[in-house]
C-alpha cells in the first residue's frame, strides 16, 4: 500500500507545475481560451517540449509513459493551473492513433507538429455508444461519412480529425445498433467552431458525403478504453482544480474582513469549507481507485464511480466557493470564478454523473468491493 507519487511522477508533476506557474497565468489563459482558435500555439508547443503529450503513450508506441497514473499526474497539474489547452483530445486521439498503428502521425502529435481532435460524440449521447448514428459507407478505395458530430474538444484549429461512424448499419432507422463502430481520419474538414463556456475550443461537424480514410473497421472496444482514460483525466483535472479553488477560498476568507473580523472567524463559513475539503478527499480517493483499476475487469465500474462522484463533488465545491467569496466570486476578473465554471462544466464531458450512475446500474451484478 503506497499512495505517494514515485520519484519520476513527482518530477513530472513538479516540472509541469513550474512550467505552468511561470508561463500560464490566468490572464494568459483567458486571453487564449476565449478567442479563436481558443488555445495558445506557444503554450501547446511548450507542453509538447516538456513531454506532456508523449507521456500519454507507452514506449513501445513511441511515447514515454502511457499508464493511467501518468495521465492522472499530468491532468491534476493541468487542473490546478486551469489549463484550457486541448490536451483531452490529444490524449484520446493519440491512444486511438497508436491503437490503429498510425505511428508517424502519433509521433507528429507527440512532438507538437500536428494536432488531432476527436469526433465521437453526437447530440443526445451520454456515455453509451450504442445509439451513435453517423454512418460510413465504402466508396471505391475510400469511405464516405454522413451524420452530425458534436462535442469535438479542441476541434478548432486541429490538423486532423478522428471520426467515429457506424459501418454496416443494415438499413434500419437512424440509431440502429447493429454494425460496428469504425474509426476514420479526415484532414481538417470545415467545423462549426465555438468557445466553451469555461474556455477552450469545441466544435460540431455536419458530415455529408465526407471523404475519410478508415483506420479501423471495428474500433468499439478501443474507443471505450480511450474514453475511460479520458474520464480518468477529467477526474484528475477536477481534483487539481478543486484543491486550488479550496486554497483560494481559504485565503480569501482569511483576508476579507466584515463586521470588524476576518470572515475565516465565522463558524458558519468554516464548516462549509471543511465539507468542501471532505469532498475533495473523496474525489481524490475515487480517482485513485479508477487509476488503479484501469485495464482491469473493474475498469468500467471504477471509472463510472469516479465520474459520478466527481460530478457531484465538483458542483458542490464550485457553488460553495462562489457563495463563500460573495460578490467577488461572481466577477469575470476573479480567477476563482473560472475555476468554478470549469468544475461545473467538467460534468458535461464524456458522460455526466447521471449517465455514469446509469452505467453503474447496468453493470450489475456488483463486484465484491473487498
Amino acid at each position: 500500500m503506497e499512495f505517494n507519487l514515485s520519484e519520476d511522477h513527482q518530477m513530472l508533476a513538479d516540472s509541469l507545475r513550474r512550467y505552468l506557474a511561470d508561463n500560464y497565468d490566468i490572464e494568459t489563459r483567458n486571453a487564449a481560451a476565449f478567442e479563436a482558435p481558443y488555445h495558445s500555439a506557444e503554450t501547446w508547443s511548450g507542453l509538447a517540449e516538456l513531454g506532456v503529450i508523449g507521456a500519454f503513450l507507452p514506449e513501445d508506441q513511441g511515447g514515454f509513459g502511457g499508464t493511467a497514473e501518468d495521465v492522472s499526474v499530468i491532468f491534476e497539474e493541468l487542473g490546478r493551473a486551469l489549463c484550457a489547452e486541448p490536451v483531452l483530445g490529444a490524449l484520446i486521439g493519440l491512444r486511438l492513433l497508436a491503437d490503429a498503428g498510425r505511428d508517424e502521425l502519433a509521433a507528429a502529435v507527440i512532438e507538437g507538429r500536428a494536432r488531432v481532435a476527436l469526433a465521437i460524440q453526437e447530440p443526445g449521447i451520454g456515455c453509451d455508444l450504442d445509439p451513435l448514428s453517423a454512418t460510413a459507407r465504402k466508396d471505391g478505395d475510400g469511405w464516405r461519412l454522413d451524420g452530425r458530430k458534436s462535442a469535438i474538444y479542441g476541434g478548432p484549429g486541429a490538423d486532423h480529425l478522428l471520426i467515429v461512424a457506424r459501418i454496416g448499419a443494415g438499413g434500419g432507422q437512424g440509431g440502429s445498433q447493429d454494425g460496428t463502430l469504425g474509426l476514420f481520419l479526415a484532414e481538417t474538414p470545415a467545423l462549426i467552431d465555438a468557445a466553451m463556456v469555461d474556455g477552450g475550443g469545441i466544435a460540431d461537424l455536419a458530415m455529408e458525403d465526407l471523404a475519410a480514410e478508415c483506420l479501423s473497421e471495428d474500433a468499439g472496444a478501443a474507443i471505450e478504453d480511450a474514453l475511460d482514460l479520458g474520464r480518468i483525466a477529467l477526474c484528475a483535472e477536477a481534483v487539481g482544480a478543486m484543491a486550488r479553488l479550496i486554497d483560494m477560498t481559504v485565503d480569501y476568507l482569511k483576508q476579507r474582513n466584515q463586521f470588524g473580523r476576518p470572515l475565516a472567524s465565522f463558524q458558519a463559513l468554516q464548516h462549509r469549507v471543511v465539507d468542501m475539503l471532505v469532498e475533495l478527499e473523496q474525489a481524490r480517493s475515487i480517482t485513485i481507485r479508477a487509476v488503479a483499476d484501469y485495464g482491469s475487469d473493474n475498469q468500467a465500474r471504477a471509472v463510472s464511480m469516479a465520474k459520478n462522484l466527481i460530478g457531484r463533488a465538483a458542483r458542490h465545491i464550485a457553488e460553495e466557493a462562489i457563495q463563500l467569496h460573495g460578490g467577488i466570486g461572481m466577477t469575470w476578473e476573479y480567477p476563482g470564478s473560472h475555476y468554478a465554471k470549469r468544475l461545473v462544466m467538467i460534468d458535461h464531458q464524456l458522460g455526466d454523473k447521471n449517465d455514469h450512475a446509469l452505467r453503474l446500474i447496468k453493470l450489475q451484478p456488483r463486484k465484491d468491493a473487498a
Binding site: 500500500m1 503506497e2 463558524q267 471532505v278 480517493s285 481507485r289 469516479a306 462522484l309 468491493a369
Partner: protein, 394 residues
C-alpha cells in the same frame, strides 16, 4: 502508487477470515446482523474467544497482552470483524482505559487492572459527559475533594454507554476550581458498588436501554485510584481522544450494511418489481456505493499516513465526518426500502407474523439509533471545528 496489501497482510486477512469463520458463534452473528441488542453474556463469550486467541486488546503492546499489530493489521481485523457481523467489543476498557493506564498508570495500577480487563472480570464504563458538559467537556462540574486517603465525589455523569453491565467507571472529575477549567480536572477510577454511586437507565429514541446516568453522592474513592497526577486529567482525556482510533470511518460496518441492503432490495418488491430495479433506489444505491468506495480508499490513505508517521491530526476528524454520513445514508436507504412495512414495531410480532425478512424488521429503530453516530465521540460539528482550526491557522 499501489493499492494492494503486502503478501503478509493478505495472509493475515485470510487468517482472520478463517478464525472468524471457525470461531464466531452463528447465533451471535445473526443477532448483530439483525441489529438486535446482545446480552452481556454473549459479548463476554466472544471476548473470551478473542482473549484466548490473543486478539482482544488490539491496540495494546505485546508486553501487556496485546497482539502487537501494525495499524494496517488492526484495520484488516476491524474490517473483517465487521463484515462477519462479529460483536463490536465495548471500547471502554480495551481501547480507552487500557491505553491510558499503559501510558499514565502506575505499575501497581497496570498490574492490578489490565489483566482484569482482558479476562472480563471488570467491565468498565466511561464517566465523561455531564448534563451541562457535552461537547464543552472542560466545563464539567463533578467534584472530587481530597479527604485523607480518599476523594469525596459529588455530581452527575450521563450518556454512560452499557453502564448497566459495568462494575467500574473511569471519570473525569474536578479537583480544582482556580485557573483555566482544563487545568482543574483529574482522571479517577471508581467502583460502581461504592456507597453513594447510583446508576439509572436512560431510554433512547429507539426504545432501547443503551445508555445511563450515574449519580455520585459523597462517594468515597481511595486516592490510589487516581490515574496520573492530580489535575492532569485533561491531558489524559486529550491523549485518549487523539489516540489512534481504528475503524473510526466504520467502512466495514457500512460495507456490511450496504450488502444487507442489496439482499433486501432483491427480496422486497415495490410496484410489482424488486426494489433493486426501482430506478430511484438503484440510483441512490449506486451513488452511495461510489461514496463508500471512495471512503475505503480515503481510509487506506490515512492509514498509510499513520503508518508512515505523517498523519497531521485532522485525518481522524475527516474520516469520522464522512464515514458517519455514509453509514447514516445507508441506514436511511435500508429503512426506506421497506416502504410501508417499516412501520410495525417488530417487538410486538413473532417471526412468522412478520411481512419482511427477520433481519430487516428492526430497520427503523436501528436507523433512529444510528443518528447517534454523528453526535457521539465528538459531534460532527466538533470534528469540523477541529479541521477548521488547522485549515485557518495563521
Amino acid at each position: 502508487m499501489d493499492l494492494s496489501f503486502t503478501k503478509e497482510e493478505q495472509a493475515f486477512r485470510d487468517e482472520v477470515r478463517r478464525f472468524l469463520r471457525d470461531n464466531l458463534p452463528r447465533e451471535i452473528a445473526a443477532k448483530v446482523s439483525a441489529g438486535k441488542e446482545l446480552e452481556k453474556d454473549e459479548i463476554l463469550h466472544w471476548q473470551e474467544i478473542l482473549n484466548r486467541k490473543g486478539w482482544l486488546a488490539t491496540t495494546w503492546p505485546a508486553e501487556h497482552g496485546g497482539p502487537g499489530w501494525t495499524a494496517v493489521e488492526r484495520h484488516i481485523f476491524a474490517e473483517e470483524s465487521a463484515r462477519a457481523s462479529a460483536p463490536r467489543m465495548p471500547p471502554f476498557g480495551l481501547n480507552m482505559l487500557g491505553p491510558v493506564l499503559i501510558k499514565f498508570g502506575s505499575d501497581d495500577q497496570k498490574a492490578r487492572i489490565l489483566p482484569r480487563i482482558l479476562d472480563g472480570s471488570d467491565w468498565w464504563c466511561q464517566g465523561y459527559s455531564e448534563p451541562g458538559a457535552g461537547s464543552d467537556l472542560a466545563s464539567l462540574k463533578t467534584r472530587a475533594v481530597r479527604d485523607g486517603d480518599h476523594y469525596v465525589v459529588n455530581g452527575q455523569k450521563t450518556w454512560t454507554t452499557l453502564g448497566q453491565h459495568a462494575n467500574k467507571i473511569f471519570c473525569l472529575v474536578r479537583t480544582a476550581t482556580e485557573g483555566k477549567p482544563q487545568e482543574g480536572i483529574s482522571f479517577l477510577l471508581v467502583d460502581l458498588d461504592t456507597p453513594g454511586v447510583e446508576m439509572r437507565p436512560i431510554r433512547l429514541i429507539d426504545g432501547g436501554h443503551e445508555v445511563n446516568e450515574v449519580f455520585f453522592t459523597d462517594a468515597r474513592v481511595p486516592v490510589e485510584n487516581l490515574v496520573g497526577k492530580e489535575n492532569q486529567g485533561w491531558t489524559i482525556a486529550k491523549y485518549l481522544l487523539t489516540h489512534e482510533r481504528t475503524n473510526i470511518a466504520g467502512v466495514g460496518f457500512s460495507a456490511r450494511d450496504l450488502e444487507r441492503y442489496h439482499q433486501l432490495a432483491q427480496e422486497l418488491s415495490r410496484d410489482g418489481q424488486p426494489v433493486a430495479d426501482h430506478p430511484v433506489y438503484a440510483l441512490r444505491a449506486a451513488e452511495i456505493e461510489a461514496d463508500l468506495e471512495a471512503m475505503s480508499i480515503t481510509n487506506l490513505r490515512m492509514l498509510a499516513q499513520a503508518r508512515d508517521g505523517a498523519a497531521g491530526g485532522v485525518e481522524s476528524s475527516l474520516l469520522k465526518l464522512k464515514g458517519t454520513q455514509i453509514r447514516q445514508e445507508i441506514q436511511d436507504l435500508y429503512r426506506s426500502a421497506l416502504g410501508a412495512q417499516a412501520a410495525p414495531d417488530a417487538e410486538d410480532l413473532s417471526e412468522n407474523e412478520l411481512t419482511v425478512p427477520v433481519d430487516a424488521a428492526r430497520a427503523a429503530p436501528v436507523y433512529f439509533n444510528n443518528r447517534k453516530l454523528s453526535i457521539f465521540g465528538g459531534s460532527n460539528e466538533i470534528q469540523r471545528n477541529i479541521v477548521a482550526k488547522e485549515l485557518f491557522r495563521g
